[in-house]
Protein backbone atom coordinates (compact mmCIF):
# COMPACT_ATOMS: atom_id res chain seq x y z
CA UNK A 1 0.00 0.00 0.00
CA UNK A 2 1.67 3.15 -1.12
CA UNK A 3 -0.56 5.49 0.74
CA UNK A 4 -3.06 3.78 2.93
CA UNK A 5 -6.25 5.59 3.83
CA UNK A 6 -5.07 5.97 7.37
CA UNK A 7 -1.90 7.61 6.18
CA UNK A 8 -3.75 9.89 3.83
CA UNK A 9 -6.05 11.05 6.56
CA UNK A 10 -3.18 11.55 8.97
CA UNK A 11 -1.39 13.53 6.33
CA UNK A 12 -4.40 15.77 5.76
CA UNK A 13 -4.95 16.32 9.47
CA UNK A 14 -1.22 16.83 9.99
CA UNK A 15 -1.04 19.49 7.34
CA UNK A 16 -3.95 21.33 8.93
CA UNK A 17 -2.43 21.12 12.38
CA UNK A 18 0.92 22.28 11.10
CA UNK A 19 -0.79 25.15 9.42
CA UNK A 20 -2.47 26.23 12.62
CA UNK A 21 0.74 25.95 14.60
CA UNK A 22 2.59 27.90 11.96
CA UNK A 23 -0.09 30.54 11.98
CA UNK A 24 0.09 30.72 15.69
CA UNK A 25 3.83 31.09 15.73
CA UNK A 26 3.78 33.80 13.13
CA UNK A 27 1.12 35.72 14.94
CA UNK A 28 3.05 35.27 18.11
CA UNK A 29 6.22 36.59 16.46
CA UNK A 30 4.43 39.69 15.28
CA UNK A 31 3.01 40.42 18.68
CA UNK A 32 6.37 39.81 20.26
CA UNK A 33 7.95 42.33 17.95
CA UNK A 34 5.49 44.99 19.00
CA UNK A 35 6.07 44.03 22.57
CA UNK A 36 9.83 44.39 22.12
CA UNK A 37 9.53 47.93 20.78
CA UNK A 38 7.69 49.02 23.85
CA UNK A 39 10.25 47.36 26.01
CA UNK A 40 12.93 49.57 24.45
CA UNK A 41 11.06 52.57 25.79
CA UNK A 42 11.51 51.42 29.34
CA UNK A 43 15.27 50.97 28.97
CA UNK A 44 15.77 54.62 28.05
CA UNK A 45 15.22 55.66 31.65
CA UNK A 46 18.31 53.87 32.93
CA UNK A 47 21.09 55.91 31.20
CA UNK A 48 19.61 59.11 32.64
CA UNK A 49 20.16 57.96 36.24
CA UNK A 50 23.68 56.80 35.42
CA UNK A 51 24.69 60.08 33.80
CA UNK A 52 23.63 62.39 36.67
CA UNK A 53 25.32 60.28 39.38
CA UNK A 54 28.76 60.38 37.81
CA UNK A 55 29.03 64.19 37.47
CA UNK A 56 30.39 66.28 40.50
CA UNK A 57 28.97 69.83 39.82
CA UNK A 58 27.44 72.79 41.72
CA UNK A 59 23.71 72.86 42.59
CA UNK A 60 22.74 75.61 40.10
CA UNK A 61 24.76 74.14 37.34
CA UNK A 62 23.32 70.86 38.47
CA UNK A 63 19.84 72.26 38.03
CA UNK A 64 20.66 73.73 34.63
CA UNK A 65 22.31 70.53 33.53
CA UNK A 66 19.42 68.62 34.97
CA UNK A 67 16.83 70.64 33.12
CA UNK A 68 18.84 70.55 29.88
CA UNK A 69 19.35 66.85 30.34
CA UNK A 70 15.66 66.38 31.08
CA UNK A 71 14.83 68.36 28.01
CA UNK A 72 17.12 66.25 25.91
CA UNK A 73 15.74 63.15 27.49
CA UNK A 74 12.19 64.27 26.90
CA UNK A 75 12.97 64.98 23.26
CA UNK A 76 14.69 61.63 22.98
CA UNK A 77 11.79 59.87 24.68
CA UNK A 78 9.34 61.65 22.46
CA UNK A 79 11.18 60.75 19.31
CA UNK A 80 11.68 57.20 20.58
CA UNK A 81 7.99 56.99 21.35
CA UNK A 82 7.11 58.24 17.94
CA UNK A 83 9.43 55.88 16.20
CA UNK A 84 8.35 53.07 18.51
CA UNK A 85 4.75 53.86 17.78
CA UNK A 86 5.40 53.88 14.09
CA UNK A 87 7.36 50.66 14.32
CA UNK A 88 4.57 49.14 16.35
CA UNK A 89 1.99 50.19 13.76
CA UNK A 90 4.10 48.84 10.97
CA UNK A 91 4.63 45.60 12.80
CA UNK A 92 0.97 45.37 13.65
CA UNK A 93 0.07 45.94 10.03
CA UNK A 94 2.57 43.43 8.89
CA UNK A 95 1.32 40.95 11.43
CA UNK A 96 -2.24 41.62 10.42
CA UNK A 97 -1.38 41.02 6.80
CA UNK A 98 0.49 37.89 7.63
CA UNK A 99 -2.41 36.59 9.66
CA UNK A 100 -4.82 37.33 6.83
CA UNK A 101 -2.52 35.67 4.34
CA UNK A 102 -2.20 32.68 6.56
CA UNK A 103 -5.95 32.49 7.11
CA UNK A 104 -6.44 32.61 3.39
CA UNK A 105 -3.76 30.02 2.92
CA UNK A 106 -5.37 27.96 5.64
CA UNK A 107 -8.74 28.12 3.95
CA UNK A 108 -7.23 27.06 0.65
CA UNK A 109 -5.30 24.21 2.22
CA UNK A 110 -8.41 23.30 4.20
CA UNK A 111 -10.46 23.23 1.03
CA UNK A 112 -7.87 21.05 -0.61
CA UNK A 113 -7.85 18.75 2.35
CA UNK A 114 -11.62 18.41 2.25
CA UNK A 115 -11.57 17.77 -1.49
CA UNK A 116 -8.81 15.26 -1.04
CA UNK A 117 -10.59 13.45 1.76
CA UNK A 118 -13.83 13.50 -0.20
CA UNK A 119 -12.27 12.00 -3.24
CA UNK A 120 -10.19 9.41 -1.56
CA UNK A 121 -12.60 8.42 1.19
CA UNK A 122 -16.16 9.55 0.58
CA UNK A 123 -16.36 8.78 -3.11
CA UNK A 124 -15.18 5.19 -2.90
CA UNK A 125 -17.55 4.67 0.02
CA UNK A 126 -20.40 6.07 -2.09
CA UNK A 127 -19.54 3.77 -4.96
CA UNK A 128 -19.48 0.74 -2.72
CA UNK A 129 -22.71 1.71 -0.98
CA UNK A 130 -24.60 2.08 -4.23
CA UNK A 131 -23.11 -1.11 -5.65
CA UNK A 132 -24.09 -3.16 -2.59
CA UNK A 133 -27.52 -1.58 -2.70
CA UNK A 134 -27.95 -2.74 -6.28
CA UNK A 135 -26.95 -6.26 -5.33
CA UNK A 136 -29.50 -6.37 -2.54
CA UNK A 137 -32.27 -5.12 -4.72
CA UNK A 138 -31.48 -7.74 -7.31
CA UNK A 139 -30.56 -5.22 -9.99
CA UNK A 140 -27.78 -6.03 -12.41
CA UNK A 141 -24.50 -5.02 -10.86
CA UNK A 142 -21.54 -3.60 -12.66
CA UNK A 143 -18.08 -4.01 -11.33
CA UNK A 144 -16.85 -1.34 -8.95
CA UNK A 145 -13.78 0.37 -10.33
CA UNK A 146 -11.58 2.00 -7.71
CA UNK A 147 -7.93 2.54 -8.41
CA UNK A 148 -6.74 4.61 -5.52
CA UNK A 149 -3.85 2.39 -4.56
CA UNK A 150 -5.12 1.91 -1.03
CA UNK A 151 -7.48 -0.19 1.05
CA UNK A 152 -10.49 0.94 -0.97
CA UNK A 153 -8.98 -0.60 -4.02
CA UNK A 154 -8.63 -3.88 -2.15
CA UNK A 155 -12.19 -3.60 -0.90
CA UNK A 156 -13.52 -2.95 -4.38
CA UNK A 157 -11.63 -5.91 -5.78
CA UNK A 158 -13.03 -8.18 -3.06
CA UNK A 159 -16.50 -6.88 -3.73
CA UNK A 160 -16.18 -7.60 -7.43
CA UNK A 161 -15.03 -11.11 -6.66
CA UNK A 162 -18.04 -11.66 -4.40
CA UNK A 163 -20.43 -10.43 -7.05
CA UNK A 164 -18.84 -12.67 -9.66
CA UNK A 165 -19.10 -15.64 -7.32
CA UNK A 166 -22.71 -14.88 -6.56
CA UNK A 167 -23.52 -14.67 -10.24
CA UNK A 168 -21.76 -17.95 -10.85
CA UNK A 169 -23.76 -19.64 -8.09
CA UNK A 170 -26.99 -18.18 -9.40
CA UNK A 171 -26.26 -19.55 -12.82
CA UNK A 172 -25.31 -22.92 -11.35
CA UNK A 173 -28.57 -22.98 -9.46
CA UNK A 174 -30.71 -22.24 -12.45
CA UNK A 175 -28.71 -24.58 -14.67
CA UNK A 176 -29.23 -27.29 -12.08
CA UNK A 177 -32.95 -26.63 -11.82
CA UNK A 178 -33.15 -26.65 -15.57
CA UNK A 179 -31.34 -29.92 -15.88
CA UNK A 180 -33.32 -31.61 -13.12
CA UNK A 181 -36.69 -30.66 -14.54
CA UNK A 182 -35.48 -31.62 -17.98
CA UNK A 183 -34.58 -35.09 -16.80
CA UNK A 184 -37.80 -35.47 -14.83
CA UNK A 185 -40.15 -34.61 -17.65
CA UNK A 186 -39.98 -37.76 -19.71
CA UNK A 187 -40.24 -40.34 -16.91
CA UNK A 188 -43.15 -38.42 -15.39
CA UNK A 189 -44.93 -38.38 -18.71
CA UNK A 190 -44.43 -42.12 -19.08
CA UNK A 191 -45.46 -42.96 -15.52
CA UNK A 192 -48.55 -40.78 -15.52
CA UNK A 193 -49.64 -42.06 -18.90
CA UNK A 194 -48.97 -45.68 -18.06
CA UNK A 195 -50.93 -45.65 -14.81
CA UNK A 196 -53.93 -44.12 -16.58
CA UNK A 197 -53.77 -46.82 -19.20
CA UNK A 198 -53.33 -49.46 -16.51
CA UNK A 199 -56.47 -48.29 -14.78
CA UNK A 200 -58.27 -48.65 -18.07
CA UNK A 201 -57.23 -52.28 -18.43
CA UNK A 202 -58.71 -53.32 -15.10
CA UNK A 203 -62.47 -53.34 -15.39
CA UNK A 204 -63.26 -54.34 -11.84
CA UNK A 205 -60.29 -53.75 -9.62
CA UNK A 206 -60.36 -55.35 -6.20
CA UNK A 207 -59.96 -53.16 -3.15
CA UNK A 208 -56.21 -53.32 -2.98
CA UNK A 209 -55.78 -52.81 -6.71
CA UNK A 210 -58.03 -49.78 -6.61
CA UNK A 211 -56.20 -48.38 -3.64
CA UNK A 212 -52.70 -48.72 -5.08
CA UNK A 213 -53.76 -47.60 -8.51
CA UNK A 214 -55.32 -44.56 -6.92
CA UNK A 215 -52.11 -43.81 -5.05
CA UNK A 216 -49.95 -44.03 -8.14
CA UNK A 217 -52.40 -41.96 -10.11
CA UNK A 218 -52.51 -39.19 -7.53
CA UNK A 219 -48.76 -39.12 -7.11
CA UNK A 220 -48.25 -39.02 -10.84
CA UNK A 221 -50.70 -36.13 -11.08
CA UNK A 222 -48.83 -34.28 -8.35
CA UNK A 223 -45.58 -34.83 -10.15
CA UNK A 224 -47.08 -33.47 -13.32
CA UNK A 225 -48.33 -30.35 -11.58
CA UNK A 226 -44.99 -29.89 -9.89
CA UNK A 227 -43.12 -30.15 -13.15
CA UNK A 228 -45.49 -27.72 -14.82
CA UNK A 229 -45.08 -25.28 -11.95
CA UNK A 230 -41.31 -25.62 -11.98
CA UNK A 231 -41.25 -24.95 -15.69
CA UNK A 232 -43.26 -21.80 -15.12
CA UNK A 233 -41.18 -20.73 -12.18
CA UNK A 234 -37.96 -21.11 -14.06
CA UNK A 235 -39.33 -19.01 -16.82
CA UNK A 236 -40.11 -16.35 -14.25
CA UNK A 237 -36.79 -16.54 -12.48
CA UNK A 238 -34.60 -16.55 -15.50
CA UNK A 239 -36.38 -13.45 -16.66
CA UNK A 240 -37.19 -15.48 -19.70
CA UNK A 241 -40.83 -15.15 -19.02
CA UNK A 242 -42.13 -13.83 -22.27
CA UNK A 243 -45.58 -12.44 -21.94
CA UNK A 244 -47.58 -11.90 -25.06
CA UNK A 245 -49.65 -8.90 -24.05
CA UNK A 246 -52.55 -7.79 -26.14
CA UNK A 247 -55.38 -5.36 -25.58
CA UNK A 248 -58.00 -7.53 -23.97
CA UNK A 249 -61.07 -7.03 -21.85
CA UNK A 250 -60.02 -8.27 -18.43
CA UNK A 251 -63.42 -9.88 -18.00
CA UNK A 252 -62.55 -12.50 -20.61
CA UNK A 253 -59.79 -14.36 -18.79
CA UNK A 254 -61.68 -13.88 -15.51
CA UNK A 255 -64.82 -15.46 -16.89
CA UNK A 256 -62.94 -18.18 -18.71
CA UNK A 257 -61.11 -19.17 -15.52
CA UNK A 258 -64.30 -19.16 -13.45
CA UNK A 259 -66.26 -21.11 -15.99
CA UNK A 260 -63.65 -23.85 -16.12
CA UNK A 261 -63.72 -24.09 -12.33
CA UNK A 262 -67.51 -24.03 -12.02
CA UNK A 263 -67.79 -27.84 -12.06
CA UNK A 264 -65.18 -28.12 -9.30
CA UNK A 265 -67.08 -25.62 -7.20
CA UNK A 266 -70.32 -27.47 -7.71
CA UNK A 267 -68.66 -30.74 -6.72
CA UNK A 268 -67.62 -29.22 -3.44
CA UNK A 269 -70.95 -27.53 -2.88
CA UNK A 270 -69.47 -24.05 -3.10
CA UNK A 271 -71.37 -21.20 -4.69
CA UNK A 272 -69.09 -19.48 -7.20
CA UNK A 273 -70.07 -15.95 -8.13
CA UNK A 274 -68.36 -14.09 -10.93
CA UNK A 275 -69.14 -11.20 -13.30
CA UNK A 276 -71.65 -12.28 -15.87
CA UNK A 277 -71.53 -11.29 -19.50
CA UNK A 278 -73.86 -8.33 -19.40
CA UNK A 279 -73.07 -7.17 -15.88
CA UNK A 280 -70.19 -4.81 -16.39
CA UNK A 281 -68.68 -2.68 -19.13
CA UNK A 282 -65.49 -4.04 -20.56
CA UNK A 283 -62.17 -2.89 -19.15
CA UNK A 284 -59.53 -3.15 -21.80
CA UNK A 285 -55.98 -3.71 -20.55
CA UNK A 286 -52.71 -4.69 -22.13
CA UNK A 287 -52.42 -8.21 -20.77
CA UNK A 288 -51.41 -11.72 -21.67
CA UNK A 289 -54.80 -13.32 -21.60
CA UNK A 290 -53.65 -16.91 -21.08
CA UNK A 291 -51.35 -15.96 -18.23
CA UNK A 292 -53.97 -13.83 -16.51
CA UNK A 293 -56.36 -16.72 -16.85
CA UNK A 294 -53.73 -18.85 -15.15
CA UNK A 295 -53.56 -16.30 -12.33
CA UNK A 296 -57.31 -16.19 -11.78
CA UNK A 297 -57.60 -19.97 -12.05
CA UNK A 298 -54.97 -20.36 -9.39
CA UNK A 299 -56.59 -17.89 -7.00
CA UNK A 300 -60.11 -19.17 -7.53
CA UNK A 301 -59.04 -22.80 -7.23
CA UNK A 302 -57.44 -22.01 -3.88
CA UNK A 303 -60.53 -20.11 -2.80
CA UNK A 304 -62.81 -23.01 -3.70
CA UNK A 305 -60.56 -25.38 -1.82
CA UNK A 306 -60.78 -23.39 1.39
CA UNK A 307 -64.25 -21.85 1.19
CA UNK A 308 -67.03 -22.82 3.54
CA UNK A 309 -69.90 -21.97 1.25
CA UNK A 310 -69.14 -19.15 -1.15
CA UNK A 311 -66.48 -17.72 -3.41
CA UNK A 312 -66.96 -14.32 -4.99
CA UNK A 313 -64.94 -12.92 -7.88
CA UNK A 314 -65.37 -9.23 -8.62
CA UNK A 315 -63.79 -6.87 -11.11
CA UNK A 316 -63.61 -3.24 -10.01
CA UNK A 317 -62.75 -0.38 -12.31
CA UNK A 318 -60.81 2.45 -10.71
CA UNK A 319 -59.20 5.51 -12.18
CA UNK A 320 -55.63 4.33 -12.37
CA UNK A 321 -56.02 0.63 -11.89
CA UNK A 322 -58.28 -2.31 -12.35
CA UNK A 323 -58.88 -4.50 -9.32
CA UNK A 324 -59.79 -8.16 -9.29
CA UNK A 325 -61.10 -9.46 -5.97
CA UNK A 326 -61.27 -13.14 -5.09
CA UNK A 327 -63.02 -13.63 -1.77
CA UNK A 328 -63.84 -16.79 0.11
CA UNK A 329 -65.55 -17.41 3.44
CA UNK A 330 -63.22 -20.11 4.66
CA UNK A 331 -60.88 -20.11 7.63
CA UNK A 332 -58.84 -17.26 6.20
CA UNK A 333 -55.13 -16.73 6.25
CA UNK A 334 -53.19 -16.71 9.49
CA UNK A 335 -51.68 -13.31 10.28
CA UNK A 336 -48.24 -14.82 10.54
CA UNK A 337 -48.57 -16.45 7.15
CA UNK A 338 -49.65 -13.29 5.35
CA UNK A 339 -46.24 -11.83 4.49
CA UNK A 340 -44.84 -15.17 3.37
CA UNK A 341 -47.80 -16.33 1.39
CA UNK A 342 -46.35 -15.56 -2.01
CA UNK A 343 -42.93 -16.99 -1.28
CA UNK A 344 -41.74 -19.93 -3.29
CA UNK A 345 -42.67 -23.30 -1.85
CA UNK A 346 -44.50 -21.74 1.08
CA UNK A 347 -47.45 -23.79 2.16
CA UNK A 348 -49.49 -22.44 5.01
CA UNK A 349 -52.10 -24.26 7.03
CA UNK A 350 -53.65 -26.99 4.94
CA UNK A 351 -57.18 -28.20 5.42
CA UNK A 352 -57.05 -31.57 7.13
CA UNK A 353 -59.18 -33.33 4.58
CA UNK A 354 -57.24 -32.15 1.59
CA UNK A 355 -54.86 -34.25 -0.31
CA UNK A 356 -51.59 -32.50 -0.04
CA UNK A 357 -51.69 -31.47 -3.64
CA UNK A 358 -50.13 -28.27 -4.77
CA UNK A 359 -46.45 -27.61 -4.75
CA UNK A 360 -46.61 -24.29 -2.96
CA UNK A 361 -45.42 -22.68 -6.16
CA UNK A 362 -48.85 -21.53 -7.35
CA UNK A 363 -48.94 -18.22 -5.51
CA UNK A 364 -45.36 -17.32 -6.34
CA UNK A 365 -46.18 -17.91 -10.00
CA UNK A 366 -49.29 -15.76 -9.61
CA UNK A 367 -47.17 -13.03 -8.10
CA UNK A 368 -44.59 -13.34 -10.87
CA UNK A 369 -47.14 -13.07 -13.64
CA UNK A 370 -48.97 -10.15 -12.03
CA UNK A 371 -45.76 -8.28 -11.38
CA UNK A 372 -44.59 -8.90 -14.94
CA UNK A 373 -47.71 -6.99 -15.94
CA UNK A 374 -46.67 -4.12 -13.69
CA UNK A 375 -49.31 -4.95 -11.11
CA UNK A 376 -49.47 -6.18 -7.53
CA UNK A 377 -51.23 -8.97 -5.70
CA UNK A 378 -52.09 -8.98 -2.04
CA UNK A 379 -53.81 -11.15 0.50
CA UNK A 380 -55.80 -9.65 3.31
CA UNK A 381 -58.31 -10.80 5.84
CA UNK A 382 -61.89 -9.71 5.62
CA UNK A 383 -61.95 -7.44 8.62
CA UNK A 384 -63.92 -9.47 11.09
CA UNK A 385 -65.72 -11.70 8.66
CA UNK A 386 -64.25 -15.14 8.18
CA UNK A 387 -62.31 -15.87 5.05
CA UNK A 388 -59.55 -14.49 2.87
CA UNK A 389 -59.37 -11.74 0.27
CA UNK A 390 -56.99 -11.77 -2.61
CA UNK A 391 -56.76 -8.63 -4.69
CA UNK A 392 -54.92 -8.28 -7.96
CA UNK A 393 -54.23 -4.72 -9.04
CA UNK A 394 -53.40 -4.08 -12.65
CA UNK A 395 -52.36 -0.66 -13.90
CA UNK A 396 -54.36 1.02 -16.59
CA UNK A 397 -52.31 2.87 -19.09
CA UNK A 398 -53.88 6.10 -20.05
Amino acid sequence: MRFGIRRKLLLAVGVLLFLFVFLGIFAQLGIRSVHDRFTELVEIKEPRNAASHEMEIGIDDQREIDSKLNEQIRVKIRSNLVSAEQAAHRTADRTERRILALILGGVIVGAFSVYFITRSVVRPIDQLVSATDRVNRGDPVQRVDIRSGDEFEILASHFNQMVAERERLDKMKSDFMFMVTHELNSPIAVAAGAVDLLKGTIDAPNEKQAKYLGMIHRSAARLQHLTADLVDLMKLEGGRFSLRPQLTDIHEPVRSACQSLAPTAEERGIRLQYPSVDAAPGIVLNIDSDRMEQVITNLVRNAIRFAASKVEVRVVDEERECLIWVEDDGPGVDENDLPKLFDKFYRGKQMPDQNKSGSGLGLSIVKGIVESHGGTVQATDRGGRPGANFVVRLPKHG
Partner: protein
Protein backbone atom coordinates in the same frame (compact mmCIF):
# COMPACT_ATOMS: atom_id res chain seq x y z
CA UNK B 1 -65.04 -42.72 -41.62
CA UNK B 2 -61.55 -44.12 -41.08
CA UNK B 3 -59.87 -43.39 -37.84
CA UNK B 4 -57.32 -40.65 -37.85
CA UNK B 5 -53.77 -41.87 -37.77
CA UNK B 6 -51.06 -40.34 -35.64
CA UNK B 7 -47.36 -41.03 -36.05
CA UNK B 8 -45.18 -40.69 -32.96
CA UNK B 9 -41.46 -40.16 -33.37
CA UNK B 10 -39.49 -40.42 -30.11
CA UNK B 11 -36.31 -42.24 -29.15
CA UNK B 12 -37.90 -43.62 -25.99
CA UNK B 13 -39.99 -46.69 -26.69
CA UNK B 14 -41.77 -46.34 -23.34
CA UNK B 15 -43.00 -42.94 -24.27
CA UNK B 16 -44.21 -44.14 -27.62
CA UNK B 17 -46.13 -46.97 -25.94
CA UNK B 18 -47.76 -44.73 -23.38
CA UNK B 19 -48.75 -42.11 -25.91
CA UNK B 20 -49.98 -44.79 -28.29
CA UNK B 21 -52.15 -46.26 -25.54
CA UNK B 22 -53.61 -42.87 -24.73
CA UNK B 23 -54.36 -42.01 -28.32
CA UNK B 24 -55.95 -45.37 -29.02
CA UNK B 25 -58.16 -44.92 -25.99
CA UNK B 26 -59.21 -41.58 -27.40
CA UNK B 27 -60.25 -43.27 -30.61
CA UNK B 28 -57.30 -42.72 -32.87
CA UNK B 29 -54.87 -45.03 -34.58
CA UNK B 30 -51.28 -44.58 -33.57
CA UNK B 31 -47.86 -45.81 -34.66
CA UNK B 32 -44.41 -45.05 -33.41
CA UNK B 33 -40.88 -44.90 -34.73
CA UNK B 34 -37.74 -44.39 -32.70
CA UNK B 35 -35.68 -42.37 -35.16
CA UNK B 36 -36.50 -39.56 -37.55
CA UNK B 37 -35.14 -41.57 -40.45
CA UNK B 38 -37.55 -44.41 -39.78
CA UNK B 39 -40.20 -41.81 -39.26
CA UNK B 40 -39.52 -40.33 -42.66
CA UNK B 41 -39.86 -43.72 -44.28
CA UNK B 42 -43.07 -44.46 -42.45
CA UNK B 43 -44.53 -41.09 -43.42
CA UNK B 44 -43.86 -41.46 -47.08
CA UNK B 45 -45.13 -45.02 -47.12
CA UNK B 46 -48.34 -44.31 -45.28
CA UNK B 47 -49.30 -40.72 -44.74
CA UNK B 48 -50.43 -40.01 -41.18
CA UNK B 49 -52.94 -37.31 -40.23
CA UNK B 50 -50.68 -35.82 -37.58
CA UNK B 51 -47.15 -36.26 -36.27
CA UNK B 52 -45.97 -35.98 -32.66
CA UNK B 53 -42.26 -35.41 -32.69
CA UNK B 54 -39.50 -35.29 -30.11
CA UNK B 55 -36.60 -33.08 -31.03
CA UNK B 56 -33.49 -34.04 -29.15
CA UNK B 57 -32.91 -37.48 -30.48
CA UNK B 58 -29.51 -38.92 -31.23
CA UNK B 59 -28.62 -39.56 -34.82
CA UNK B 60 -27.65 -37.55 -37.79
CA UNK B 61 -31.09 -36.20 -38.52
CA UNK B 62 -32.36 -33.93 -35.77
CA UNK B 63 -36.03 -33.53 -35.07
CA UNK B 64 -36.13 -30.06 -36.55
CA UNK B 65 -34.31 -31.17 -39.67
CA UNK B 66 -37.00 -33.79 -40.01
CA UNK B 67 -39.70 -31.15 -40.18
CA UNK B 68 -37.81 -29.29 -42.84
CA UNK B 69 -37.29 -32.48 -44.82
CA UNK B 70 -41.01 -33.13 -44.87
CA UNK B 71 -41.60 -29.74 -46.40
CA UNK B 72 -39.85 -30.95 -49.53
CA UNK B 73 -42.32 -33.74 -50.11
CA UNK B 74 -45.40 -32.43 -51.92
CA UNK B 75 -47.73 -35.17 -50.76
CA UNK B 76 -47.02 -34.25 -47.18
CA UNK B 77 -47.87 -30.56 -47.21
CA UNK B 78 -50.33 -29.47 -44.61
CA UNK B 79 -49.36 -32.33 -42.32
CA UNK B 80 -49.59 -30.92 -38.81
CA UNK B 81 -46.58 -31.51 -36.60
CA UNK B 82 -46.60 -31.11 -32.83
CA UNK B 83 -43.36 -31.14 -30.86
CA UNK B 84 -43.36 -33.13 -27.61
CA UNK B 85 -40.12 -32.62 -25.73
CA UNK B 86 -38.49 -32.31 -22.33
CA UNK B 87 -36.64 -29.17 -23.37
CA UNK B 88 -37.93 -26.08 -21.71
CA UNK B 89 -36.08 -23.09 -23.10
CA UNK B 90 -38.31 -20.61 -24.87
CA UNK B 91 -35.93 -20.30 -27.79
CA UNK B 92 -36.46 -23.98 -28.58
CA UNK B 93 -40.16 -23.26 -28.97
CA UNK B 94 -39.42 -20.33 -31.26
CA UNK B 95 -37.10 -22.37 -33.42
CA UNK B 96 -39.56 -25.21 -33.65
CA UNK B 97 -42.33 -22.90 -34.76
CA UNK B 98 -40.00 -21.23 -37.21
CA UNK B 99 -39.13 -24.63 -38.68
CA UNK B 100 -42.80 -25.30 -39.31
CA UNK B 101 -44.17 -27.06 -36.25
CA UNK B 102 -47.61 -26.00 -35.11
CA UNK B 103 -46.92 -26.03 -31.38
CA UNK B 104 -44.61 -27.35 -28.68
CA UNK B 105 -45.55 -29.23 -25.51
CA UNK B 106 -43.35 -30.14 -22.59
CA UNK B 107 -43.32 -33.75 -21.49
CA UNK B 108 -44.77 -34.34 -18.08
CA UNK B 109 -45.95 -30.75 -17.68
CA UNK B 110 -48.22 -30.22 -20.67
CA UNK B 111 -49.52 -33.71 -21.40
CA UNK B 112 -53.16 -32.79 -21.25
CA UNK B 113 -52.62 -29.74 -23.40
CA UNK B 114 -51.03 -32.00 -26.01
CA UNK B 115 -54.05 -34.29 -26.08
CA UNK B 116 -56.40 -31.32 -26.29
CA UNK B 117 -54.49 -29.88 -29.20
CA UNK B 118 -54.43 -33.17 -31.05
CA UNK B 119 -58.19 -33.49 -30.66
CA UNK B 120 -58.64 -29.93 -31.83
CA UNK B 121 -56.46 -30.31 -34.91
CA UNK B 122 -57.91 -33.63 -35.98
CA UNK B 123 -61.50 -32.56 -35.54
CA UNK B 124 -60.80 -29.48 -37.63
CA UNK B 125 -59.54 -31.67 -40.41
CA UNK B 126 -62.88 -33.34 -40.68
CA UNK B 127 -64.59 -30.08 -41.51
Amino acid sequence: MAKKRILIIDDEQDLIDVLKGRLEEAGYEADGETTPVKGQWSTTRNRPDLIVLDINMPGWLSGLDFIVSLAHIPTLTGLPILIYTSQQSPDVRDRALAAGAIDLFIKGAEDRALMDKIKLLLSEKES
